[in-house]
């Protein structure tokens, strides 16, 4: 994506504006309660917008459009099924239970409903997961940022054989570099002048001239034969490349500092109110792309005609419900049972970084209304995020890397200035998810660990200082983790795997805690630990058995579903054999039991 001066101006104004706004909000913060829960003063509309924008990270903005390019409207399930119904249920059933108890975190509510062991176990799970995930999000976002801004170092491959080009590109780290190809020496020279590569790989078969390295004016140069290429070959030869002008670490550092500053100063209030701006920018930018894209294609019916005329490739592109044996990763069974019944509930009801906003609502009415407003906004999201991916397909059906579909579309249809708005929308998505995790991680460690075990009777101003110290520690940890996260795919999988380990069991004990007064602390603890262990067992069996246990390569949805079911069973059985919690403890903690 090529940005002009107007685009850069918009981006700089946006970034500086966000930090200044966060600092302005932060001036009113005097206590831990202000910092973690915005002094319980947040209105429904701000929380609703914050909920929506926090759910959509920068990775999603690019990744969802890329997946929609490949699979179509089925990605809309993640909002229409995975958010709206659950947010309605949460608004009337779960959020009021949490809000009226005046807790700061979900583990704190679990402690009040069950016992201290359940609280600490849950807090440690979230407290360890969130800082690690923070680093991974930061790194993944920096990768996307570099792709969109065309900042990645360039590697030029010269070969007239496309298969050889692919082999070379796959033998090196595809995430860190952009590979550019040329099929002749002349084109290669022109490309090296235009794109300034850090190394050139040249096929010996191409031309005798390839042995003359002077023609590439000092750029490191490796000539090869097809037989030499292996996975270690790429890594070994990349060591000869010259230093790139822009390292991904710079992107990580800049984003970490910007987000860290306003979260440090403003706490949850800054997170939520910057999210409001980010929601407007993100939705505005994405809807611009939607309207521009469709208008330029000639209208909705023309758009649909182009897609449906692509035959077998797009036959399911306008279907939300796909067969169980679909070749896409979105069969209806996994979507309905895994996403709709477990993961979506776990996310909107049990995820600390999401629920914390509603806990900061100024009234019960605001807490409930925020989730309803969020649900209404969520209906729009697939139109803003998924449909542009399909529009990109209509424009250009030959994009090799689907993750570049959105960037390619923007480049093709958006005038200068509007590209800057879309890019600001991308930054908004990035910042909104990182700041949420950062603030929530600091809240959990301060409230459920530090306050509980180290200084139970400190004053509120003391917890403000502690919260800010944790914020600094976690942003530094995130930057540290992020710069070593070059094995991104495995780390991202690790984060998803860890999340699937405890999402199901955590949800199970929250649901039983709210709906069943017979659920006991011992039952919940056994259910939580048993469920997490069962998830680990399933993943271990899946990875180690000769024939994998699940028929999908990334069985997160199924692991979450089965661990949820097992946790429910364990909690119910153990609760029935242990003594019921005292009546006075249960009042106000169980639905319709005041």
């Amino acid at each position: 994506m090529v940005l002009g001066p107007i685009d850069y101006t918009i981006i700089i104004i946006y970034l500086v504006g966000t930090v200044v706004f966060g600092a302005y909000i932060g001036r009113k913060i005097k206590s831990g309660k202000d910092y973690f829960l915005a002094g319980r003063s947040l209105p429904w509309w701000a929380i609703g917008m914050s909920l929506v924008v926090s759910d959509i990270g920068a990775i999603d903005m690019v990744g969802i459009a890329g997946s929609a390019y490949l699979y179509g409207i089925v990605l809309g399930n993640y909002d229409w099924l995975g958010s709206v119904p659950v947010m309605i249920i949460a608004a009337f059933l779960f959020i009021p239970m949490f809000w009226k108890k005046k807790v700061s975190t979900i583990p704190e509510w679990l402690g009040a409903r069950y016992n201290s062991s359940v609280q600490t176990t849950s807090a440690l799970i979230w407290g360890i997961y969130m800082p690690i995930n923070l680093g991974i999000i930061l790194y993944a976002s920096a990768v996307m940022l570099n792709v969109l801004l065309d900042l990645n170092p360039k590697v030029l491959i010269l070969s007239d054989d496309k298969a050889v080009v692919e082999k070379v590109a796959h033998s090196t780290d595809k995430k860190k570099y952009d590979f550019i190809y040329a099929s002749s020496i002349d084109k290669g020279i022109q490309l090296s002048k235009d794109r300034n590569p850090i190394i050139i790989f040249i096929d010996k078969n191409l031309s005798a001239e390839s042995n003359n390295r002077n023609i590439f004016s000092g750029i490191p140069f490796v000539s090869f034969t097809e037989n030499e290429i292996s996975s270690s070959w790429g890594e070994m030869n990349m060591n000869r490349a010259r230093e790139p002008d822009w390292d991904i670490f710079y992107s990580i550092l800049i984003m970490g500092i910007v987000i860290g500053v306003y979260t440090f100063l403003g706490g949850l209030r800054a997170v939520v109110y910057t999210d409001v701006i980010q929601c407007v920018v993100m939705l505005g930018g994405s809807l611009f792309v939607l309207f521009f894209g469709i208008i330029k294609l000639g209208g909705v019916s023309e758009f649909v005609n182009i897609i449906t005329s692509m035959g077998e490739r797009t036959k399911d592109h306008f279907s939300l419900v796909l067969p169980v044996d679909t070749k896409t990763p979105h069969p209806w069974s996994g979507i309905l049972f895994g996403l709709g019944f477990v993961l979506a509930n776990a996310y909107w009801i049990g995820n600390q970084s999401i629920v914390q906003r509603a806990l900061g609502a100024r009234s019960m009415a605001d807490a409930k209304a925020s989730y309803i407003f969020g649900a209404l906004l969520k209906i729009l999201i697939p139109f803003a995020m998924v449909v542009p991916g399909i529009i990109a397909l209509a424009y250009n059906p030959n994009i090799a890397d689907a993750d570049k579909a959105m960037a390619t579309l923007i480049k093709e249809i958006m005038p200068t200035g509007l590209i800057g708005i879309f890019f600001a929308a991308f930054l908004a998505g990035l910042m909104s998810s990182v700041d949420s995790f950062l603030n929530s991680a600091a809240t959990v460690w301060t409230t459920d660990i530090y306050k509980k075990y180290f200084r139970p009777k400190g004053d509120d101003a003391h917890y403000l200082v502690v919260g800010r110290v944790f914020t600094i520690i976690f942003i530094l940890v995130a930057i540290y983790v992020a710069q070593f996260a070059t094995g991104f795919e495995s780390l991202y999988d690790l984060a998803q795997t860890l999340l699937s380990f405890f999402q199901g069991p955590s949800l199970a004990i929250i649901i039983l805690g709210v709906l069943w007064k017979r659920a006991t602390g011992t039952g919940a603890l056994v259910g939580l630990i048993g469920g997490v262990s069962f998830s680990a067992l399933l993943m271990w069996v899946h990875s180690n058995a000769t024939i994998p246990l699940f028929q999908v390569s990334e069985p997160f949805l199924y692991v979450a579903l089965w661990s949820f079911i097992l946790s429910i069973m364990l909690t119910v059985i153990v609760s029935l054999y242990t003594k019921q919690e005292p009546e006075e403890k249960l009042r106000g903690m169980v639905y319709r039991y005041d």
Binding site: L81, L320, V321, W332, D366, N544, L549
Partner: protein, 96 residues
């Protein structure tokens, strides 16, 4: 040392295979049942799920859906907004 590692590895693969085979029998059965469900029925399940939530919201007592806004002093009825959201979702699933 290598022998011990080899033994541990082969034993763990055997254990994983045994557990995997145990789980795979009911898993395969469930998969076959799900495969036999017609796509129209599957879509109906989605819509039944949405309609049941809509009905639940409709049946909630007034005390849970009508709340007093402390700032304006007015009562807000959240039910129409929640039902509208669900109706829109049903329409979307009927279209796609």
């Amino acid at each position: 040392m290598i022998d011990i590692l080899t033994i541990i590895l082969s034993v763990s693969v055997s254990i994983a295979d045994t557990i995997s085979n145990l789980f795979r029998i009911p898993g395969q059965l469930m998969r076959e049942i799900l495969l036999s469900i017609d796509l129209h029925i599957a879509k109906s399940l989605f819509i039944i799920y949405f309609l049941s939530i809509t009905y639940w919201v409709y049946k909630l007592p007034k005390s849970e859906v009508i709340l007093n806004d402390k700032n304006s002093g007015k009562d807000i009825n959240l039910r129409p907004f929640a039902i509208s959201a669900m109706v829109l979702i049903v329409i979307i699933y009927l279209i796609f």
